[in-house]
């Protein structure tokens, strides 16, 4: 069998292609981006015509995937955890319509917030929608689970959530790969009652979904990757139960490898498919004197296990402090939680300074902030509301420009709300890709209210933060703003370069002083992407 060295994300992508995928729908977001990028450039996927272009946001992605599923084909939706919030309406309702072709929704969570604004746990969304959840513990399982997840989705006629965390998404290991299965044939659904969610239909579908819960539990109990492992060290020792979810299992095994002269015995439930097998937990509680729940993210399983046992029974985990309440699991905090002593360490270094991420030298966003910094100091109450992207780094020194950064699109709407409250000047800074993702609707609100806001769409012709993916609104920004009703005299385009500083600052002043909605579009290609394009052109010319 062929073995390939793959990132967790790449294993998911290849697993999906080999499971007969017909389309991937996604918006870039760390740590999920590499899944779609892999499919976009994979030879097999291209030959098989797998649909893979980036979507405008996670909601359009989820809905398009549902449309493909309606036609009987297999679709994958990929996003980072906060993308689940954006597609939640479509996601939760897809459990009510059910699916025709298999649908797998991939959520990549980011505990410790390496590149995120929160550490929400997508398993809550799976529970909320009442659908099965897969959580691989390693790259091989991530690959293999794609075909099991699509099969289960088609068998139950429900979408399946596959949850990974940053450490699996961005870690490489060898994966044994199989031959690709054929794609499903076009076979559009005919049961309109299931797909038209009028209340009468939805009530019936919801009862169906509740009926399926037993089948989902049965599937979890029979899953080949949900396993019970016992480590019997001594007949004298007590039994300790461990529920180890996803990659938490690896840290448990790593820690137990290192525990020496231990008399304790361990019963480990490796949990990689939900709903959690309840009977197994009850049996574990009968044998073991306590249960430790090891899960990356929020205490989803810990709370469930507590409900299954007497209040006097000891259930430990993130809620009790045996494991840290926040942040990702690692081999150190899990081994401490299991009572292992730390290795002797070198003293922490004295000559050390943080090296925070920065805007690249030569980046157009820098020139935007330089101009903004100069103008803003002329207005006592000026506030600049930020958004999600490279330009969020404008919050850090030397610019320290931003008053807020909350979620995709919130710059425009927060500036609007602040203007409604009487703040002036209320300025928004948003990137091109973030604007089409979730900024356009907010701009329409501002236009309809004739809010006194100045909106800067800092257009670098790409989705920069995640590595330079296509931006959905490329070359359409003026047209979009005009179409939404912004006065043409107040849609201004500038080129953010140091030599244009006098012009940019002048336009900023003019538009701040204009009482209404104005949009300034500083436009210059991301220097990383420009360099990549130059390399690609050179390569073409050499051929």
């Amino acid at each position: 069998m062929e073995k390939r060295l793959l990132l967790g994300d790449e294993a998911i992508a290849l697993g999906a292609i080999h499971a007969g995928l017909s389309g991937v729908y996604a918006y870039p977001g760390t740590p999920s981006t590499e899944i779609t990028e892999f499919i976009q450039t994979n030879k097999e996927a291209i030959e098989r015509g797998v649909r893979s272009r980036w979507c405008t946001n996670e909601k359009t992605a989820m809905e398009a995937a549902l449309g493909m599923s309606y036609c009987g084909k297999r679709a994958l939706v990929c996003m980072k955890h906060v993308g689940m919030n954006v597609c939640a309406d479509a996601f939760v309702n897809s459990a009510i319509t059910g699916v025709n072709g298999g649908v797998v929704v991939l959520a990549a969570d980011d505990p410790s917030m390496h590149s995120s604004q929160n550490e929400q746990d997508s398993r809550f969304y799976g529970k909320f929608a009442m659908i099965p959840i897969f959580e691989p513990s390693n790259q091989q399982e991530a690959y293999d689970m794609m075909s099991s997840a699509f099969e289960l989705s088609e068998r139950l006629k429900e979408p399946v959530l596959l949850r990974v965390v940053t450490r699996l998404a961005h870690s490489r290991a060898a994966v044994e790969v199989k031959k690709a299965a054929d794609q499903n044939k076009l076979n559009p659904a005919t049961d309109n009652a299931h797909w038209v969610l009028l209340p009468g239909n939805a009530r019936r579908n919801y009862l169906d979904l509740i009926d399926k819960q037993n089948d989902m539990m049965k599937a979890s109990c029979e899953s080949s990757t949900n396993d019970i492992i016992t480590i019997n060290n001594s007949d004298k020792g007590k039994w300790i139960g461990i529920v180890a979810c996803g990659i938490g299992y690896n840290y448990v095994r790593e820690a137990l490898n290192g525990i020496k002269d231990n008399e304790d015995n361990y019963m480990i439930m490796k949990l990689t498919q939900y709903p959690m097998p309840v009977e197994g937990i009850k049996q574990m509680a009968e044998v073991c004197s306590e249960i430790l729940v090891v899960e990356d993210g929020q205490p989803v399983v810990e709370e469930e296990v507590k409900k299954l046992v007497d209040t006097s029974y000891k259930v430990e985990g993130r809620l009790t402090g045996r494991l840290p309440r926040t942040g990702e699991l690692n081999p150190d905090n899990v081994s401490l939680g299991l009572g292992k002593e730390n290795n002797p360490l070198f003293k922490p270094a004295k000559n050390l300074a943080g090296r925070p991420p920065q805007l690249c030298q030569g980046c157009g966003h820098r020139d935007v902030y330089t101009a903004l910094g100069e103008v803003v100091k002329e207005y006592e109450n000026a506030r600049v509301f930020g958004d999600i992207g490279c330009y969020t780094l404008g919050a850090l020194p030397p610019f320290k420009a931003l008053a807020s950064c909350v979620d995709m699109g919130a710059s425009i709407t927060m500036a609007k709300g602040a203007a409604d409250a009487g703040l002036w000047p209320a300025i928004a800074v948003i990137g091109d890709s973030t604007f089409t993702h979730s900024g356009m609707t907010g701009l329409l609100d501002a236009v309809n209210d004739n809010s006194n806001v100045t909106i800067i769409i800092s257009d670098n012709l790409t989705t920069g933060m995640t590595g330079g993916q296509d931006s959905a609104g490329l070359n359409k920004y003026e047209a979009i703003c005009l179409g939404l009703g912004v006065d043409p005299d107040h849609v201004r385009v500038v080129v953010p370069l140091p030599k244009n500083m006098p012009e940019i600052t002048q336009i900023l002043r003019e538009e701040i002083n204009y009482k209404g909605v104005s949009v300034i579009i500083p436009r210059r290609e991301c220097i990383q992407v420009a360099a990549r394009h130059a390399r690609e052109r050179a390569k073409q010319n050499n051929k």
Binding site: H170, S171, A174, L352
Partner: protein
Amino acid sequence: MKKDIILCGVGGQGILSIATIIGEAATEAGIYLKQAEVHGMSQRGGDVQSNLRLSTDPIWSDQIPTGEADVIISMEPMEALRYISYLRHDGIIVTSNKPFVNIPNYPDEAALKSELDTLPNVQLDIEAIAAELKSAKSANMVLLGMAAPYIGILTVEQLRKAVSVIFARKGDAVVEANLRAFDRGVEASKK
């Protein structure tokens, strides 16, 4: 046998290429490998690191526990110190001695050097060597060559072969330049 390696530096210095080459050599040798990277926000001039675990037995955790790294391979001296809690007491730091200063509060260079010298380490001006070879982009391969004898679980020859495999699609000239850089690193670590 098992070797845990921390690779570190500043975004853009070529850390991930080193990881890819060691990964290729490990795959070719048929040993187990796990390699955890940090992507995304940290790439923009920030610190980057990769955890590389090589073993003849299956590996559980993608991350290296503190106090268990056999080698820290660093493109930058201060970045080597950042991960010192991961180093085993009998481990070693292999690092470039040239500071990459892109922050206003970079520590005093003399103090940094003397702290580094209290720890088991090998240092070299890899950028000067790469410049001497007229191949500034290959500084990371000088570093890999320096570190090669300490990796242990893979031979210098296995790593050298992986350098040519990984750069093959960039043409013979690039392969040659990187092999020269690698060889100079190996030589330097013998001194």
